[in-house]
């Protein structure tokens, strides 16, 4: 199977999983309007993967983040799983779209990308598990400090990226 097709399969499966988790969560809790909303956006994300609108991928991911944010009120694990799966879907779909204009791109590139994404998923999963398993009470000042630190790190990374 060509590597590009694998990418598309991974992307669509990941979109289905990310939205499926939310649908299942809300469905089991009897929150049908939320479940329907997640299902509709899931179908739209998958339908978009057959179209040409690349911006739709990022929009779908943003919507998924918002839905997962709401889902944390019911189950944080499901919300976290949904975001992780959504990140995989977003990345693989954008990569598959990037490879589309090229005739027969080498499989090595695709596998290298999937390996790195796998490493990110493992790292995020491990950190997320730790974060959700051990609850530490932090004061507002600490949280503000963490946010400031993140902002600083992000701006430094952005500078690096722009240079």
């Amino acid at each position: 199977m060509p590597a590009q097709r694998i990418l598309w399969r991974v992307a669509r499966t990941a979109w289905s999983t990310s939205h499926g988790i939310l649908v299942l969560l809300w469905g089991m809790r009897g929150e049908w309007p939320w479940a329907a909303l997640a299902a509709i956006f899931g179908v739209l994300a998958i339908a978009n993967s057959y179209g040409r609108r690349a911006w739709g991928v990022s929009l779908s991911f943003l919507v998924l983040l918002a839905l997962s944010g709401v889902a944390t009120l019911w189950n944080s694990w499901a919300a976290f799983g949904s975001v992780l799966s959504g990140l995989i879907a977003w990345d693989t779909e954008l990569f598959a779209r990037r490879l589309e204009p090229f005739l027969d791109p080498p499989n090595a590139i695709v596998w290298a990308h999937l390996k790195r994404l796998g490493a990110i998923a493992l790292l995020s999963g491990a950190l997320g598990t730790v974060a959700l398993s051990f609850t530490v009470s932090l004061g507002f000042g600490w949280i503000l400090l963490i946010a400031f630190g993140f902002l600083l790190a992000f701006s430094l990374l952005l500078r690096q990226g722009l240079s």
Partner: protein, 431 residues
Amino acid sequence: MLGPRRWAFLGSAAFLLILIGEILRQGELLVLALPLVCYLAVGFYFALPDRIELKAQRSLSEQRVLSEEPVTVRVELENMGAKLEVVEFADSVPSLLKVRHQHSTKIDTIPAGGKISLEYAVAGMRGLARWKDLSVTVTDTLGLFVKRMELPCEGEVLIVPTFERLDEILMRPRRTRIFSGQVKARLGGTGIEFFGVREYYPGDERRYINWKATARKDRLIVNEFEQERVADVIILLDARERSDVAIEGVSLFEHSVRAALSLAHYFTAQGNRVGLLIYGRYLDWTWPGFGRWQREKLLRAIASAEKGDKAVFEDLENLPTRLLLAGSQLVFVGPILDSDVKTIIDLRLRYEVLCIVPNPILFESASLARTPEVELALRLEHLRRRGFLTQLRRAGIRIVDWDVTKPLASVVRGELGRTAWRAALVRRGVL
């Protein structure tokens, strides 16, 4: 979405989650930002090397081809630095070429000191196709860092349209050069064709003695032959947009170009000193010269000729006659307009003029529906055109009215060959 945009998107989303989590004092939202932060952190860890050293080299299977003949282009990219995870390179194919086989873009990984290559085939109709730079985009696997560069990677291929080989054009320019060639010089001397008789001078070869004339005159008379020398020939290619006719993407100008190529090839092969002026978009002047090198220059210039609609070149009035060598043979190639007649007749005062005129009416009429109105219009146009061509012929200008559906070689042979020359002399009562 690549590079900073990707950063901004993921970073903003993570920051928003953290901010909302803090505002609502809900730690789970902070956890949701973790995958995004991990993504950015891993991306940063595997960032691009500080220095990217790439070298591009291009090779073409042919330097000169005929129309629609494929040329294989091979571009090799050498990495002289650290390993590059994703390298996209796109070769900008000149507009006059079309990619026939494979793609002019490629994506791959280049190990340190490694090479990758791109190969594709192109073909085109006519012109000089030049490649300049190769666009290269280097990114990390996740696409968070991007570096775009243009690597110098030049190459060129000349696409010459197929043209006919002409076999005979008799011309009588007013002036010839001193080197022997195939143009009658209007001077007695050594040659092939009989020119006249004169008195014998010591040193004349005995085989040239005309015994009958000697017997009549009672002194030695020798035959003289017409000297054959090379001449100066200037080809004027009419590249004015207003004189062109284009139907369904096929242009009469292309026929003029083919005719000019045939003429340039013929005249240089005959050893003449040939120059070229392309009159239209701008004045594209090729100085007269001899030999194969000159023929190559002419072929390049003609094959790259483009039409133009500059107001200053609308009429032939601005033809730079000071560039044209006095007494040379001018060969005008293109459909003549009414407004050009006076200028061409004026040129006849200083030069021998020959016009190869692709017939625009026959060219256009081939695609017209034959209604009575069209037939009438065509007849009127033919008459009008015949009128000014006759006017030119009366001024001593030789005209080849060329129906482009017929081969130029046979038309030229019929109009400018030896037989036509004799027929003209007979008509004038010379022979």
